[in-house]
C-alpha cells in the first residue's frame, strides 16, 4: 500500500515538473474557453434573463465550472499521456518499471485533477465576482474534486485506447465537443425531450453539471447523479486498467 502511494506520487512528480515549466501557458489556454463562455453566454447574452426563478448568469456559472473541470482534467491527463505514448514513446518506461498498473492509472490521472482543480477555481472566482449569490459549500467542493477525478480518468482511458492522433482528434470532435454543449452546462435538461434526456444521462458531464448547479444554487442535491458520477469514474478506471493490461504483462 505504502509502495503504491509512493509510486502514484512518483508519477505525479514528473508531471508536476513538466507543469511547473509551462504553468502560465497551460493555465491561460485552459481558461480562455470557459471565460469566453462566461462572458458570451452568461454576462452578455444571459444578463437580465431569468431562468427557473434565478438569473441566467447564476444558472450558467456552475455549468461552466463543470465544463472547465471536464476540459482541463480530461486534457490534462490525456494530452501528456498521448504524446508520451505515441510521439516520444516514453510511456513504456512506466510499463518496464515495477510500478503496478493500478498505481499507473491513478498516477496519470492525478495531473488531470491538479489542472482541473486549478482551472475550475480560477473560473469559480470570476463567477463569484459576477454572481456573488452562488454558494461554495463542502458538497460543491467534494463534487468538483470527484468530477475532476472522473474526467481525468476519462482522459487516461481515451489516451490509452487510441493509437494515433487522427483517431483522438475524431473522438474529440464527435464526442467531447457535443458533450461541452449538450450536458446541461448551458441549459436545463427539463427543456429537452425525454429520449434526449435519457441519452444525456449516459454522459458524465451531465451528472457533474447537475450536482454542481444544485450545490451552488442550494437546490435539493441529486444524489443519483453523484453516484452515477462515481460509477463513471470506476468504469473509466477499470477500463484503463483493461486496455493497459492488454498491452503489457
Amino acid at each position: 500500500m505504502f509502495d503504491s502511494l509512493k509510486d502514484i506520487y512518483s508519477i505525479l512528480w514528473v508531471d508536476l515538473r513538466n507543469l511547473s515549466r509551462h504553468w502560465r501557458s497551460t493555465l491561460a489556454t485552459s481558461l480562455v474557453q470557459p471565460l469566453l463562455y462566461l462572458v458570451a453566454f452568461g454576462y452578455g447574452l444571459g444578463r437580465g434573463i431569468s431562468f427557473e426563478g434565478i438569473s441566467y448568469l447564476a444558472f450558467v456559472i456552475p455549468g461552466i465550472v463543470a465544463l472547465t473541470a471536464f476540459s482541463s482534467s480530461f486534457n490534462g491527463s490525456a494530452q501528456k499521456l498521448q504524446v508520451d505514448r505515441l510521439f516520444y514513446k516514453s510511456f513504456e518506461e512506466f510499463l518496464i518499471s515495477p510500478v503496478s498498473l493500478y498505481s499507473l492509472v491513478a498516477g496519470k490521472a492525478l495531473i488531470g485533477i491538479v489542472r482541473g482543480v486549478i482551472s475550475s477555481i480560477a473560473v469559480l472566482i470570476v463567477g463569484l465576482l459576477l454572481s456573488p449569490t452562488l454558494i461554495v459549500s463542502p458538497i460543491f467542493v467534494l463534487t468538483l474534486l470527484v468530477s475532476c477525478f472522473v474526467f481525468a480518468l476519462f482522459g487516461v482511458l481515451v489516451a490509452s485506447v487510441f493509437n494515433n492522433h487522427v483517431h483522438m482528434s475524431t473522438f474529440n470532435t464527435l464526442v467531447i465537443l457535443p458533450m461541452t454543449f449538450l450536458c446541461g452546462t448551458f441549459f436545463s435538461l427539463s427543456q429537452v425531450p425525454e429520449s434526449v434526456k435519457i441519452a444525456l444521462y449516459f454522459l458524465p458531464l451531465t451528472h457533474s453539471s447537475n450536482c454542481l448547479r444544485a450545490a451552488a444554487l442550494s437546490q435539493p442535491f441529486p444524489w443519483f447523479s453523484f453516484v452515477a458520477l462515481i460509477s463513471f469514474g470506476a468504469i473509466f478506471y477499470f477500463g484503463s486498467l483493461f486496455v493497459l493490461k492488454k498491452t503489457s504483462l
Binding site: 509512493k6 509510486d7 512528480w13 515538473r17 516520444y88 514513446k89 510499463l95 518496464i96 515495477p98
Partner: protein, 295 residues
Amino acid sequence: MTSRRRSLTEKSIVTEKLNKNYANVQALHDLDLEVQNGEIFGFLGPNGAGKTTTIRVLTTLTRPSSGSASVGGFDVTKDADKVKRMIGVVQQHLSLDRDLTVRENMEFHARLHRLSSSNRKQRIAELLEYVGLEEYADKMVDTLSGGMKKKAAIVCSLLHEPKVLFLDEPTVGLDAQARRRLWDLMRRLNSDGTTIFLTTHYIEEAEALCSRVGIIHHGSLIALGTPVELRGKLGSTVVETLVDNKETCYQFFPDRASANRYVQKLTSNIKTIVIRDSNLEDVFVEQTGEKVDHA
C-alpha cells in the same frame, strides 16, 4: 528442482520455443536462446527479423504467443515484476522526457524503481560521474547531442543496478566518435558485472564488443556462437572476385595458403581480386542472403 533452479540462474536469459504472432505475421518462430551471466551478447539481423520483438518479450513489454522466456531465472509472464526489478532497458528510440533535465530524468527513473531519497542522490551523482555527464546534468535533454542523449538514457536505465541490460540499437545515428565512447561504456559496465543483451546493425560493433553473437532471420535463430567460431565455420580467409565486371563473388577458405592456390588458378575474365580475413558481415550475408542494413 534445486538443480534446475541453479542451472537457470547461471544463465541470464533463456528462451525455449518462443513464438510471437502479430495478426498474420510470425515475428518469432521457435526461438531457442541462452545468454550466460556476465557476457555481452550480440543479436544481429536485418530489419524486421525479430530483434526488437525478442527484446520486447524479454523486457515484459509484449506477451509471447507460445513458448517460454526467462530472465535471471524468472519467467517473463509469470514473474514479470521480478524480471522488471533486475533489468535495465535502453530502447532504440529516445525514451527520456524531453521537457526535463538529465538530472530530473534520472530522479524520475530512480523514483520509479523506488530508490530511497538518500540513495537516489548518491546513485545519480555516482552515475553522472561514471559516464562523464556531470556538466550536462542540469541541461534540458533536448539541448544535448545524440551521443549525450543516449548516454543519459543509459544512465537512467542503470539507477537500480540492473543485472541484465538490454540495449536496442544503442548506437544508431551516432557519429563514429560518440559510438566508440558508448562502446567503452558498455565494456566498462560489463566488466563491472552487468550482462548485456545488445541488438545492432553494425557488424563491427558486434565484433568489437560481443563475446557471443546470435543471428536472427525471419524470426528464427540461424547462427549462434563466438565471432571466431562463426567465422571459422565459414572459413577464416575470403577471396573477393569481380566476374565480367558484373557481380562480386566470395569464396571462403580455411587459411591464406588455400586462398592463394585458388587465386593462381583463376581465369582472365575475373578481376579485382581481394584476399582478406573473413568477418561477421560475411557470416551474416552467407546465413541470411541479405546485406546488412546500415541505418
